[in-house]
């Protein structure tokens, strides 16, 4: 249970691990969908595939922001080593959320399989 606490250093890598999982999921999901059942090029970016990838991206970004907020709250209650871990983890969660949103931004306007 100690590992679930935001003062544990495992959180230094959880946010970016989630970013990696998101990245692999959208890239491989896109590749498989384009290979198996590509949407019509006429639909441009208004496809179910874009919607699915976009929804997943939003969900991941929101989850990461929540985790960053949790770290921020926890950091205020501690000093020293535990505060250090919580603060750095919080920034890393926030960066991961930004990374998901930024790298996922093209989903809005780019056709998936062209």
């Amino acid at each position: 249970m100690e590992r679930l606490n935001f003062t544990h250093p495992i959180h230094l890598i959880v946010g970016l691990t989630l970013w990696s999982v998101w990245f692999v999921a959208v890239y491989s999901g896109l590749s498989v969908a384009c290979a198996v059942n590509p949407p019509s090029p006429e639909a441009r970016s208004l496809t179910l595939l874009n919607a699915g990838l976009g929804g997943f991206t939003l969900l991941c970004a929101a989850g990461l922001v929540l985790l960053a907020w949790g770290c921020c709250r926890t950091a205020k209650q501690h000093q020293g080593r535990q505060r250090f871990h919580a603060v750095v983890s919080g920034w890393l969660y926030l960066f991961s959320a930004f990374g998901v949103a930024f790298a996922g931004l093209p989903i809005i306007g780019v056709p998936p399989c062209l």
Partner: protein
Amino acid sequence: MKSVNQEAVEQDPQQLHEDLHDIWGNPKGLKALTIVNHTTLGLRFMITGMVFFLIGGILAMLVRTQLAMPDQDFMSPEIYNQVTTMHGTVMMFLFAIPMLEGLAIYLIPKMIGARDLVCPRLTSLGYFCYLFGGIILTSSLIIEMAPSSGWFMYTPLSSKEFAPDLGSDFWLLGITFVEISALSAGVELVVSILRTRTQGMALHKMPLFAWYILAMALMIVVGFPPLILGSVLLELERAVGMPFFQIAGGGDPVLWQHLFWLFGHPEVYIIFLPAAGIVSTLIPVFAGRPIVGYGWVVAAITIMGFISFGLWVHHMFTIGIPQLAQAFFSAASMLVAVPTAIQVFVWIATLWLGKPKMKLPMLWVMGFLIIFVCGGLTGVMLALVPFNWQVHDTHFVVAHMHYVLVGGMFFPLIAGLYYWLPLFSGRMPSENLGRWGFWLTFLGFNGTFLIMHWTGLLGMPRRIYTYEAGSGWEIFNLLSSISSFVLSAGIAMVLLDIALHFRFGKPAKHNPWNADTLEWANTMPPSAYNFVSLPSVETRHPLWDDPNLPHTMAEGKHSLAVASHGRREMWGTDPITGKVREIIHLPGNSWWPLFAAAALAVVCLSLLTKVYVLAGVFVMIAGIFLLRWSWENGAHPKAAPDAGVKPGDPPLHSRTMDGPGLWAMGVFLIANGSFYLSYLFGWFYLWTVSPEWQMPETPPLSLIIMGAAGVAVLAGCGVMEKLVRGLRQQRDAGLGAGFYLAAALGALQVGLMGWALWQAELAPTQTSHDAVMLVGLVYALFHGGLAVVLTVLQGLRVGYGYVGAHAPFEPGVVALLWRYNVVTFGLLIGALAVLPRVLGG
């Protein structure tokens, strides 16, 4: 914090030094080959790396001579291709990584207050694998049979059809051999940093250099296996015709590009991170103040470690990937500029708020800042897909790459070498010669590569051996070539300075730069055991906060100042808090690493010369050497038969359930897992993308037999877990029999797998489907067999009294392998036997 074993026992420091030297000292003559000490091996890595650097540098000069003027025939196209390929290969694989690893191997224990790395024999094995692999690879130049397909060995250019001679084989086998070395260093650096910091050195008090090396080592562990897999597959294709990368057989050459760049892009950051660690160490020392934003730097290192794995496709923007996928990788490539910028601003802020002294090492740091920032900016340009398309495969990319790699690695490396030179030798370098060296290198470098940006923008492609007069590239190439010789003169001057200083350098005073980290508490040059006594450190700047610390450490006034037991000892500490958990006892000098590496070298040469029987024999011999090595552990008479410790001290690690070997196995399994995931990626990639992939109508693997094998390995793992649980509660009744039962279950799994394989009647040279399936099954067979052998050995060790309730450590390590086997075998059944039945072709 109350430190363990802090009460100082009054001892004669000189006597203590002599006693410790008897235990840790290096032998001379032929026995010097048995040395496992990190200081000696770190220096060997660096000296060997510099030799390869000179070879790579000479190759670069040959390239620039050839390109100095149009229509030159100084080299034939064939030789030119070999020279360019080997220049890149030597610099990346035989210089950059081993050199930085050598520096880390040398420095990390000293910085974290330890006496050695945690697996000294592994350091030695890594060195010999590097040396032998490097010699095998570079010998191809002498016989004019060097690889010639570019340092990234793209298929089909590197395949049998277009590269029928041995060049590609030299590359694939030599590099794989050298990568054993990189992985060895990666594993032990991770474990050493996490588990052997001196007491009190909590994670957030660790020197920044250790953070950088921790990230680098973990990246090696995860990043190198995809290339090892790719190399194995390509060598199998070349040697026996398994069509992994051939369209006609259901393979895909693009798979090689994915596997190569999955390694290749993180590789750039694997090289950059330790170099940035040098910069983050030097700037506070010469600015005379702590670094601004320690936490920001830790965050930036972590971000780089992850994001750099999400950029690999930006090397493949021109191969026909969907726009949206390109956009993902373009955005990720831009994201990595954020942590880089954080570090640059931290360095500038530290210099701004301090009082920088522009000594020789700082000159190289300033050169780094200028060149690397320029290289980073062209990197952001290359992350933009349309621009990337325009300059792809031109000299612009060559210029960018050298700005990042030479600016980002070579300049900090020289800064670091000048900074730690007094520690290596006890002498100071010449400021005059050093400054001449710097300015010639800096001007020569920019003259060579700044101009190359224009040559590239004018359209000059990479890897062409000559060009016609009137193309508009002549003057730029001539200037680049002249500058490259100025650059060489600068580097020669630096090397001359370093060589001369050993004889003529002024003797250095203790801690000559007024540094804050523990390595400067050593004698100069350091002793084999680093420190007479190990201090409690609860600050990021131990030598600034207690300038007297080196003296009290040398006088034996801190912990573990004992030599009477005859063991090589140091602390094993909690990875987070730095509290002492156990005493780690280390093995002494050994022939086994050299023997194992020599046997592997024979395997490599046998594969090159296609004498496969001999290769098989020497694989067995190497295995025997490695197992014999593993035998001398724990309670073995050559390790630590006597578990006695001083009253109040923690137990020896081999008498606990959690020693460094467990962590080393865990980290090794991460590397192994990366290899396995790369394999699964290859399977699914070919299945999804390859146009000629043929999924058989009836899946060849019997689900029933594979399922039965799965049950067997699961049962074996259950037995192992039960035995380990018993040991945790000090129960060892029936331990030996339990191991033999688990081994029998493992043997049953191997037998069933063999049966499934025989029954499947695969045709691995006909279709990539069967070839990939065969590789997966051989992987599982090997791991199953390994678990059986190791478990039988545990049974034998119980009989010898080396394992039991009194020494319960080792079974937990073997049990970890069993867990891994259960998971990977389950995934294998799912991927190869279940999904094809569910999804069809």
